[in-house]
Amino acid sequence: MNSAKPSLQCWAALAATVLVIACADPGPGGAQPAQSVVGTLSSVDTRGFRKALVPVAFAFPRDHGAHPAFKTEWWYLTGNLSTADGRRFGYQLTLFRVAVTPEPPASASAWATNQTYMAHFAVTDVDGEAFYHDERFARGALGLAGVSATPFRAWLEDWRVSEDTGSATRGCDSCLNLRIAAGNDEATIALVLTSTKPAVRHGDNGLSQKSATPGNASYYYSLTRLATEGTIQIGTQTHAVTGHSWFDHEWSTSALEDDQAGWDWFSLQLSGHTELMLFRLRARDPEVADFVSGSFVASDGRVSRLHPGDFTIEVLDSWTSAATGVAYPAQWRVRIPQHGLVLEVTPRIQRQELNAAFRYWEGAVSATGRHRARPISGEGYVELTGYQ
């Protein structure tokens, strides 16, 4: 019931704000502090947009596409990859959509639209201890950026995610096989992703409630394990890589509550073909409990919802960014007693802060621990926002 993923709401407002910041002269100070971004959240006008009120039956491939009647939406890919000789990399490619008005404008111009897009791209070179990231903005018009469902295609200029229609998904309706390509002068990725598990609907059959307020929720599903192969190029060096990716798709029209400071989000792919998604929305008031939720995906694809009280997240370490001076948590212990799971989650490298127009930490992590008394390991991504 309460398994909403609040990060979506944050991202939505964030995306809108970033678009604003992007067109300002950043000046020597660079990015806007996250605090003001979160502050802007409550002022986002959502009148006239559809809201996530009740669970709906997702229909694929249609629901892989865009839902323009909702204010915000995002398609999110992360993955941990390595070369044959064990050199490790992480990547992130995210496309955000934000509608500025509920209705498209009536205009003869192909540039006219109410849809705006933002994309983030990042590559972590674990062994090189390097982190590359970039961001882009475009209007959802003239084919500069957009998302289509059949075949699935999501792009912002030449950063693109497209359905690999040549490969079969073996009777799995919600599965997607994808080709992705993105990059900048420093790093590029060209990857082929193959679904190995069907879509996981988070929360109440895909309705991810965020607070008690009706409509303060999103529709949210994930493809938690996509076999991935391809190349990562850093500078002039090209690396052939394999590994696993995680795909999220979420859409909503909702805003973050005033008393929430930010969020921590975890996506972990564990040995034994299981996956774990957790988040906590941090309350500003230390007396008030954080808003938490999660999903545990068994090897056969069955999903267990994790409610408040089902798990704890303990911060073991912290790291302060030299570039921005922001202190982030840097190691966690996660306990889920009902599954007999204890995990220590550690960033692959510390420096995975996206110091873009909007500043946050999003990085590849490794996990080790015990599952029902047996050793377990894994890898994934963690996202941290709202830290000062």
């Binding site: 809108a16 067109c23 500025v100 475009a138 084919g143």
Partner: protein, 837 residues
């Protein structure tokens, strides 16, 4: 030290002379500085206005007459990942609620780039989400909003090629500098989608700006472009555009230098007279052991003092004057060349330095001869005025013979084929110099010729006046030359303008043969063809021809294209310089041939059967020139092409205007009124009768020469001040002579008559001398300067008014200059002037 004090005393003892010299130099320098500041301000405004949009752009992708297909932008970004570029849609609108002012609309995609140009930077006050979420959101400069009385938010109605629209001013832009504010003065910034709609450019981009720093990127983009587009570097494109106004600027500069030259004569005159007056003093100094060098330095120093004071006053005057001239120059640039907002005089140190250097330089050069003269005064106390005059008269012949040198140089510069515009002006100045050398001889001739007539008319006074002039030749020759030159300039420029004007008038009569002209305000979508069909079906309409005016931009500059669907009959409206209508028509109609205007042929050195290269939709293509026609509409030239040819090579169906020929028995005014209230009602089209269009053309013509006329007047003012100063000093110097006359029975009235007759005679002489020089200047301006500047052929139209005016002006100046000394002398009792005897 003593010499310096003597010099200073000398300047103070003749305050009138000193002050008038200063005023003369000041005016000359002021005109030079004002024109230079004005030209410089126009250049800066052009550069800045370019930068406002182009910003860091190193290159532009430019298309055909209708710009670029917007899909090209998408393809470059999405398919080829070219990112350092941003699209621009530009157009014109009018503001019906604000006196129908003309504004530029600049449409931007704030997502494309954020820091490249001032226009993009200015959008910092408006979020792109707002740009997209508020319907027809628009940005204005803060000053502009204030000027229009608009607060934020408020509504702004505009009328453009895309019809009438209501914009919503959602933010204002604070410009970083006054110049930036000027560049944004009449600019509305909107989202690119809004700009496309209101300027009637849906689906099209005006251009794509790029920032390409390495040659491989340039080559890559060039390789991706379709044939109807071109990648041009900003520098070459800006230069090509700026070249358009170059001839105009050079002409203004030359005129301003003429004013300075007249000012130079003034200084020369003052110093010469001053040295002559002080011959005795100088001779005394020589006997006291003062060397030639000291005397030379002393006289030069005196001149320099006047020069510096004049230059200082000239700077202030020049800056003030430039504010007045700027509006006139801006108007001409907007009328003839391109839309440019110039309201701000930018005071450039370089312009001021140029003016100062020219002013001081001119003073020193002008003082050289008098200073030499002073240093050559023999050290003897016997001072004879008659000696000076004898010397002056004997030098007349020498000077006249020496005139052959500058005249030969002038002839070579003016007549040698292939000479530049600069050489043309240099030739003019040499000719003027030659004339100045001839002036004393001619002056003597005129006095000799008028002598019998004067003595008959005025008796003794008349005879004395004539002699007075020849006897004071040392003092009057330069004065007369200066006045003659100034008057000749005004006569010459006047004849040139009249000739030009009459030529254009005649040309318009032949050229504008249709009864009514209907044109679209904007340029993009133009006139609706259905509307033309409806007009053609009205009773009384004999025929209709349509025209399309468009520009082809290329790396090599801009080509004005005139596309018309004329029939053979209307084609005969063209007056051919080379080729003829009959032979050109078949190839023009069916054979991909074009005809070019005279200035185009001149600037591009093209003649009949040569070829011009134009970039069509399928790439660069050669077109044969079938004829060269007279056209005074554009000084850069026009390529005219048949509509069929145009449509074969350009996918642009737009029509800019159409001309209506009526049956002979139709009342044109009544038909126009019916048309305006009928078919044209609610359209954005402008209807003009043949007569109105001609009047409008002449209005623009006259506006173009407004600056020229101001400079003309200023030059004459300088000359009048000069003659006033010179003649007055001569007359005042003769106090003793006049006292003797009075003592011998001359009445004050007779004395008054003598003085004014003498100065009037000098003025008359100058006026008469000015006539041949004026005619010569007119011919040189028409046949050499104008051709080298613009390539036009003009018929010479000589009307008496310029000659009459010239002589009247000179005589009036002479009489005026005699008035004060005459009055003063007449009032002075003879005993007062003679008491030192």
């Amino acid at each position: 030290m003593i010499l310096a004090r003597i010099s200073m005393r000398n300047l103070i003892r003749h305050p009138w002379q000193s002050v008038l010299s200063i005023v003369g130099i000041a005016l000359g320098v002021a005109v030079v500085i004002a024109i230079d500041l004005t030209n410089d301000s126009a250049r800066r405004a052009f550069k800045l206005s370019n930068q406002m949009v182009a910003g860091q752009a190193t290159h532009h992708i430019i298309g055909g007459p209708t710009g670029l297909n917007e899909i090209l932008y998408r393809d470059l970004r999405v398919d080829h990942g070219i990112r350092d570029m941003w699209p621009v849609v530009e157009g014109r609108v009018r503001l019906p609620d604000h006196g129908d002012q003309r504004f530029s609309v600049i449409g931007v995609d704030p997502f494309a780039q954020t820091t490249h140009s001032a226009i993009y930077r200015s959008t910092r006050d408006l979020s792109p989400t707002e740009l997209l979420s508020v319907r027809n959101a628009a940005l204005l400069a803060q000053d502009t909003a204030r000027r229009l009385g608009l607060s934020v938010p408020s509504e702004l109605r505009v009328r453009g090629a895309g019809g009438r629209h209501r914009l919503r001013v959602t933010a204002t832009v604070q410009s970083d500098s006054a110049l930036e504010g000027q560049a944004l003065r009449t600019v509305v910034i909107t989202d690119i989608s809004t700009a496309q709609v209101i300027t009637g450019n849906v689906g099209r981009l005006t251009r794509i700006d790029l920032e390409l720093t390495d040659p491989t990127a340039v080559a890559r983009v060039r390789g991706l472009l379709p044939p109807d587009t071109e990648l041009a570097s900003s520098a070459s494109r800006g230069n090509a555009l700026q070249q358009m106004t170059r001839a105009f600027e050079v002409n203004l500069t030359a005129l301003s230098l003429l004013a300075l030259v007249v000012g130079m004569f003034l200084i020369y005159n003052t110093m010469t007279v001053s040295v002559l007056q002080r011959h005795a003093q100088i001779a005394t100094l020589r006997t006291l052991g003062v060397g030639n060098r000291e005397l030379f330095t002393s006289v030069t120093g005196e001149a320099l003092t006047l020069g510096v004071l004049g230059v200082l006053a000239g700077i202030g005057l020049g800056i003030a004057l430039s504010h007045q001239l700027l509006a006139l120059v801006a108007q001409t640039i907007n009328d003839l060349y391109f839309r440019l907002e110039i309201t701000q005089v930018s005071i450039s140190a370089l312009s001021l330095a140029k003016g100062i250097a020219l002013g001081i330089g001119a003073t020193v050069v002008a003082a050289l001869a008098p200073a030499l003269e002073a240093s050559r005064v023999p050290p003897q106390i016997t001072y004879t005025r008659s000696g000076q005059e004898t010397a002056a008269r004997s030098s007349v012949g020498r000077l006249a013979r020496f005139a052959i040198v500058p005249c030969t140089v002038a002839a070579a510069l003016l007549l040698l084929p292939g000479g530049s515009l600069f050489a043309g002006f240099a030739g003019l100045f040499f000719a003027i110099f030659g004339f100045a050398l001839l002036a004393p001889a001619l002056l003597l001739l005129i006095v000799r010729l008028t002598h019998p007539w004067l003595s008959r008319a005025l008796g003794l006074v008349g005879r004395m006046a004539g002699r007075g002039v020849t006897e004071s030749l040392s003092r009057t020759r330069v004065t007369v030359a200066a006045l003659a030159i100034a008057v000749s300039a005004t006569v010459g420029v006047g004849i040139m303008i009249t000739s030009f004007r009459t030529t254009v008038e005649h040309w318009l009569v032949n050229y504008l043969r249709a009864d009514l002209y209907v044109s679209a305000a904007g340029s993009a979508t133009g006139v609706d063809p259905n509307l033309i069909r409806r007009v053609s079906q009205l009773p009384g309409v004999k025929s209709i021809t349509t025209a399309r005016w468009t520009k082809l931009d290329g790396a090599g500059g801009r080509t004005q294209l005139f596309v018309l669907d004329a029939q053979a009959k209307a084609f005969e409206n063209f007056q051919f310089k080379h080729g003829n209508a009959a032979s050109a028509w078949p190839r023009f109609k069916a054979g991909d041939a074009v005809i070019v205007s005279e200035p185009y042929a001149y600037h591009h050195r093209r003649g009949v059967r040569d070829r011009v290269v134009l970039r069509t939709d399928s790439g660069a293509r050669e077109f044969e020139v079938a004829g060269v026609f007279y056209d005074y509409g554009s000084d850069r030239g026009v390529v005219a092409m048949h509509r069929d040819t145009y449509r074969r090579h350009w996918a642009d169906p737009a029509i800019s205007s159409f001309a209506v020929y009526l049956d002979a028995d139709i009342d044109v005014d009544r038909f126009a009124a019916t048309l305006q209230d009928g078919v044209l009602k609610d359209s954005e089209l402008t209807l003009r009768s043949n007569r109105q269009l001609r009047a409008l053309s002449m209005e623009i013509f006259d506006r173009t020469f407004a600056v020229t006329n101001v400079l003309r007047v200023l030059t004459v003012v300088i000359a009048v001040i000069g003659i006033f100063s010179a003649l007055m000093s001569i007359q005042l110097e003769r106090g003793r002579e006049f006292a003797v006359l009075r003592a011998n029975g001359f009445t004050p009235r007779q004395l008054w008559a003598l003085v004014t007759t003498e100065t009037g005679l000098l003025g008359f002489a100058a006026g008469v001398l000015a006539l041949p020089l004026g005619l010569f200047l007119a011919l040189a301006l028409i046949f050499i300067i104008n051709r080298r500047s613009f390539g036009w052929t003009m018929q010479v139209w000589l009307t008496p008014e310029h000659f009459v005016l010239g002589v009247t002006l000179a005589v009036a100046a002479g009489l005026l200059a005699g008035l004060y000394p005459a009055l003063r002398l007449a009032r002075t009792p003879p005993s007062f002037a003679l008491r030192h005897e």
